[in-house]
Amino acid sequence: MTEEPLPAWSLPTDAVERIALPEAWPGEVTREWAWGGATGAGVRVCILDSGVEPDHPRVGEVQESVAISLDGDEVMVDKKDTAGDLCGHGTACAGVVRSLAPECELASVRVLGAGFTGSGAVLLEGLRWAVEQGYDVINMSLSTTKQKFATLLHELADTAYFRRTMLVASAHNMPVESYPWRFSSVISVGSHEQEDPFAYYYNPSPPVEFFARGVDVEVAWMGGGRLVCTGNSFATPHIAGIVALMLSKHRELTPFQLKSLLYLTATNVGGGT
C-alpha cells in the first residue's frame, strides 16, 4: 500500500495541481478501459473466512495464511496457519476470485474454527488485522448480527475506505440487521441467477449495491474437490475478483472510484459496451 498524505481540508487555488488524478478518465468509461487485458497481477486480495486450502487446483498459490483467535481478551495472530480450510467456504471464495483474476496474490485470514462463542470478536479482530496489512481488496462473505460490534466494524470499514482497501461484503438475504455489509464504505453484494461471471447489476435501491453471479456456481471445495453452490457468499468474490482486475490495470483507484467504475460498467448501466 502506498501511504499518501491526505489532501488538506481545504483547497487553495494554487494547490489544485497537487490533487491532479494520476490518470484521466475517458469521456465514456467501458469495460475495456476498466479491466481489458488485466489479470489481477500485483493486487493483494484477502479472503477473510474459514481458511483456504493450500495448493487447490482451482485456487493455486496462497501467499499468506493467517489465523486469528482470542485467548481471553488477547488477540492471537498465527502468521503460519497450517489448518487449511475448516469447512470449504473460504476455498470456494478464493477459487472464484482466482477464476476472474488469475494472477492476483491471495491471502487467507481465518476467523472461523475456534467455536461459536467469541466468533463476533474474532471476526472484528480479523478485519482489523487485515485492514492494518493494507490489502487492496478484502472479501468478506460473512457478517455478524451482534449490535455491540457494529460501531467498531463501522470505524474499521471507514478506515479501510480511506486507506484504499476495498472491502467487499456479502449482503444478507434475510430480514435481519447484520454487519458490515450495510455500511456505505463497503461494496455490498447480493445474487442474481445468471451464469455469466462478468454480469453484475447496480441496485438503485440500497443497502445492497450490486448483484453478481450467486446461483449454481461451481466452486473449489476441500480435498481438491469442487461443488455447485448457491448464496450471496459466492456472488461477493465475483465482485472482489472484478475489483482486483480494475486495480491491476488502474493501481491508483480509490474505493470511491472503484464503486463509480463498477457502477459505470454494470450490466444494467454501461456494461453492454
Partner: protein, 210 residues
C-alpha cells in the same frame, strides 16, 4: 426485572418444552414437504458447551439423531451459524471428505443440502437444514427466500423453546426464584380450574405488599 426473575414468573404460564418441540417438529415436517426433500433438521446452539444439538428431524435419520451433538464451528451447519450466511450446496458426493463430515452431522450422506442460520433479533440460535431435494429441482432465488421464511418461523420457535427451558430451570431450581416460579405455576393452575377467587385474593394481597 432480571431475565432470571422474568423466567421464574413465566415458568408457570409458559408453554412447555414439549409444546415448542412439537412446533419445531412441525416446521421441519412442512419444510421437508414443501421442498420435496428427503430430510430436514433444526439444530440448536448450546452456548454453554459451544455445540450444535439436533432438536428436530423429519425424514431420514429422524429416529436416532435428536439430541446428538457436534462442535459449533466446523462443517456446513457450523459455518452457516458463525457466518450468518445461508448456503446451498449441490453434488455433495463430489467430495468424499465433505460427504463423511456431512454424514456425521446428518445421519446419512445427502447429495445436496440447504442450510440457513436461525436468527432472532441479534442472536444466532441455530441452523435449519433441508437435505436432498429431487435431483430435477433446479435451485432458484425464490427458493432461497422461501427457506428464509421457514428460518424466521423456526427461529421464533427456538427462542420460545429456550425460554421454556429457562423457565423450567427456574421452576425446578432452589431458592427464592423457584418459590416465585411455583407460586406463578399454582396460580395459573387454579385459574385453569376455575378457582380464581382465591388466586385473585392472593394477587390482591401481593399488590398490597408491593
Amino acid at each position: 426485572m432480571s431475565e432470571e426473575l422474568r423466567s421464574a414468573v413465566a415458568a408457570g404460564v409458559l408453554g412447555t418444552e414439549k409444546d415448542y418441540g412439537e412446533l419445531l417438529q412441525s416446521i421441519v415436517e412442512v419444510a421437508r414437504a414443501i421442498f420435496r426433500a428427503k430430510a430436514s433438521s433444526i439444530f440448536l446452539l448450546d452456548e454453554a458447551t459451544d455445540e450444535l444439538v439436533f432438536e428436530a428431524v423429519a425424514g431420514e435419520g429422524s429416529e436416532s439423531l435428536v439430541g446428538r451433538r457436534f462442535p459449533s464451528s466446523t462443517g456446513i451447519a457450523g459455518f452457516v451459524l458463525v457466518s450468518r450466511q445461508p448456503l446451498v450446496i449441490e453434488d455433495v458426493l463430489e467430495d468424499p471428505r465433505f460427504s463423511r463430515e456431512t454424514a456425521e452431522s446428518t445421519g446419512f450422506v445427502p447429495k445436496g443440502l440447504m442450510a440457513v442460520p436461525l436468527l432472532h433479533e441479534e442472536r444466532a440460535l441455530g441452523v435449519l437444514e433441508v437435505l436432498d431435494r429431487p435431483s430435477d429441482a433446479h435451485f432458484s432465488l425464490a427458493e432461497m427466500e422461501l427457506l428464509g421464511l421457514f428460518a424466521n418461523e423456526a427461529a421464533i420457535a427456538l427462542d420460545l423453546l429456550q425460554r421454556a427451558r429457562r423457565a423450567q430451570g427456574a421452576l425446578e431450581g432452589e431458592g427464592d426464584l423457584s418459590v416465585l416460579a411455583r407460586i406463578a405455576q399454582k396460580l395459573e393452575e387454579r385459574r385453569a380450574e376455575d378457582e380464581d377467587l382465591d388466586a385473585a385474593e392472593f394477587l390482591a394481597a401481593l399488590e398490597k405488599v408491593l
